[in-house]
């Protein structure tokens, strides 16, 4: 945690680039922006590239990919909820081989950084996917989506059990290219997220992605049945932001040095700043992309401006700043 000496608010002129070093240090990565996309919310990057230059953000986090092609769940796969949405996609995807040949190849050629999210129904599947990816050069990081039901354990979600989560993470870490950082993506649907965080870090995770969706449900009051084909779904969007910020804060308190990729309901630069002040080294913008396809680059811009106005010279100085001790007071409070 770097502590900055905070200077006065400096109102910035909109025209020029804010004078802030936006490099994000995330485990062994140095990304040109602390703003990434979120898995499942930006496809494999190509669709967004029409709305903004995807090489200018931190990285594209690709939709979680499994070993084989997957059809996903039946529709309806979404329901809008207050300031959020539910989804039950069921990890539809092309399988890792087609993904590497087509989608990842496109991203590489485009010059964008790729964080590859992987999923599996068993430890073995995660390992198989990881080994296949090991042969591919240029992947920035792996993100392990452990919010998948464990087919070998009555469908219990890996992320909800410290042991199962650690098993997956340690197996992936061992199978992956040692030079590629492995992030474990945590579920908020647990009694003690710090305990899970601690376990997966001990199991070898180089960093944590915090948080995945919350389990939720909507009843369609016309059909008088669950609205989603999958019955329950994952809740995302601004609605869950306070839960996500809390998770980041708690983990940062307990694990002062672990790299954290924060996410959950980020819509603006100030939202991103909340995560960074709470302890995130970088952030992912997910559901907000559906509202505003260029949200990631806008959040980057707004964040840069907000950091400058608060007197930070770099993103890094702001990371965990809200944890500073009481005496360490902020000088720039606005005057009436």
């Amino acid at each position: 945690m770097t502590r900055a000496v905070v200077r006065q608010h400096v109102p910035s002129k909109p025209e020029r680039e804010p004078n802030v070093d936006m490099t994000a240090r995330l485990a062994s990565l140095a990304l040109p922006s602390p703003v990434l996309t979120a898995s499942g919310c930006s496809g494999f990057g190509s669709e967004l590239d029409g709305f903004f230059d995807i090489t200018r953000i931190g990285a594209i986090v690709t939709k979680s990919v499994m070993w084989s092609p997957r059809s996903g769940r039946a529709t309806p796969r979404m329901a809008e909820t207050p300031s959020g949405m539910l989804n039950s996609i069921g990890l539809q995807g092309p399988g890792v081989q087609a993904f590497v040949q087509k989608d990842l190849a496109w991203l590489m050629e485009r010059g964008a950084r790729a964080v590859v999210s992987i999923a599996g129904g068993s430890v073995e599947e995660y390992v198989r996917v990881t080994k296949f990816l090991r042969e591919v050069k240029g992947i920035s990081a792996l993100e392990v989506n452990i919010s998948c039901p464990n087919v070998e354990n009555r469908g219990q979600v890996f992320a909800c059990d410290a042991r199962a989560a650690s098993e997956v993470v340690s197996a992936v870490r061992r199978a992956a290219d040692p030079a590629v950082p492995v992030f474990a993506k945590l579920s908020p649907d647990v009694t003690d997220i710090v305990a899970i965080a601690d376990s997966v870090v001990r199991a070898g995770a180089d960093g944590l992605s915090v948080i995945n969706t919350l389990l939720g449900m909507v009843i369609d009051t016309d059909r008088m049945r669950p609205a989603l084909g999958g019955i329950t779904g994952g809740l995302s969007g601004p609605a869950i932001r306070p839960v996500a910020v809390r998770c980041v804060w708690q983990i940062r308190q307990a694990l002062p040095d672990v790299p954290i990729l924060g996410m959950g309901g980020i819509r603006t630069g100030l939202d991103a700043l909340q995560f960074i002040l709470a302890g995130a080294n970088a952030v992912s913008v997910g559901t907000s992309v559906f509202n505003d396809p260029s949200a990631p680059i806008r959040v980057h811009r707004e964040l840069a401006k907000a950091l400058e106005e608060r007197g930070f010279g770099s993103v890094e100085e702001a990371v965990s700043f809200a944890h500073r001790p009481e005496g360490y007071e902020y000088e720039g409070e606005p005057v009436e």
């Binding site: 499942g40 919310c41 930006s42 496809g43 669709e47 967004l48 029409g50 709305f51 939709k63 979680s64 499994m66 084989s68 092609p69 997957r70 059809s71 996903g72 769940r73 039946a74 529709t75 309806p76 796969r77 979404m78 809008e80 207050p82 300031s83 959020g84 949405m85 989804n87 039950s88 996609i89 069921g90 990890l91 539809q92 995807g93 092309p94 399988g95 999923a119 129904g121 989506n145 919010s147 998948c148 039901p149 087919v151 469908g155 979600v157 995945n212 969706t213 084909g229 999958g230 779904g233 994952g234 969007g237 601004p238 559901t287 992309v289 559906f290 509202n291 505003d292 396809p293 260029s294």
Partner: protein, 286 residues
Amino acid sequence: MPIQTRGEVLDVKRAGAYHVLTLTAGSIPDQARPGQFVAVAIGGGESGLLLRRAFAIHRVNSRGVYGGTLEIVVSVHGEGTAWLADRRRHDPIDVVGPLGRPFSIPRDPINCVLVAGGYGSAALAMLVEELHSRGCRVDLVLGAATEDKLFGVLDSKRLASTVTVTTDDGSTGLQGRVTDVLSDVINRSAADVIYACGPMKMLQAVAGVASSHGLMSQCAVEESMACGIGVCMTCVLPVIGDDGVTRMVRSCVEGPIFRGDRVRWSDIGTVPVGTYGSTPLVEETS
């Protein structure tokens, strides 16, 4: 390529049960092709409705006083459409488009039957113009539950050879469904191809009639969409590919126009056995 633009509401008009909104929308009107749609953000900064709403592009005017404008036809259904119907002149509005693949247009001047249910006709107006300008014969069949839910009947008469109207309650036109008259219209006009836009059940029936006449149909489907731009995988439906394999296909980027004989209409809402990538015994999240 679709763009995102902050436009302005220029006009809101009632038309039967619908509201017709005229919007400025940057270069979208210049790019738009028949069958494409736009996705409109709902509410201002304080809005709790995150997802954009999809609307067929009804008409465009690329050289108005205000630059390019486009029209959408809104049927009030829930909160989002209610908000849109409540807009007034000069209100700001945020539009993404043009989205989706347009209707395929025949190269030759063939005979086309266009079928619409309810506000579905909004999506066909540009198609009528385009087909007409290519010398195609256009016959229209417009259906709705009641008279006020018909859209664009008068307008259609300008370019179409015939316009046949049906209503469920017989309040105007023939009492019944569009499919009750479709075969006749097909025969009468010696149709070569069918275009359709409307509720899923209607599309299914129309596709069936078309097939029974040995005709190709192009259907504009309506699936719930979270993103509209191809990144979320919510808007899928089972479609048979050229290779005969069924896939869960994104209707926002690979549709909304599909060949009627390729959509597995009865299986919408399921993942049919044998679909590419289906693993019926395993359930995974998100």
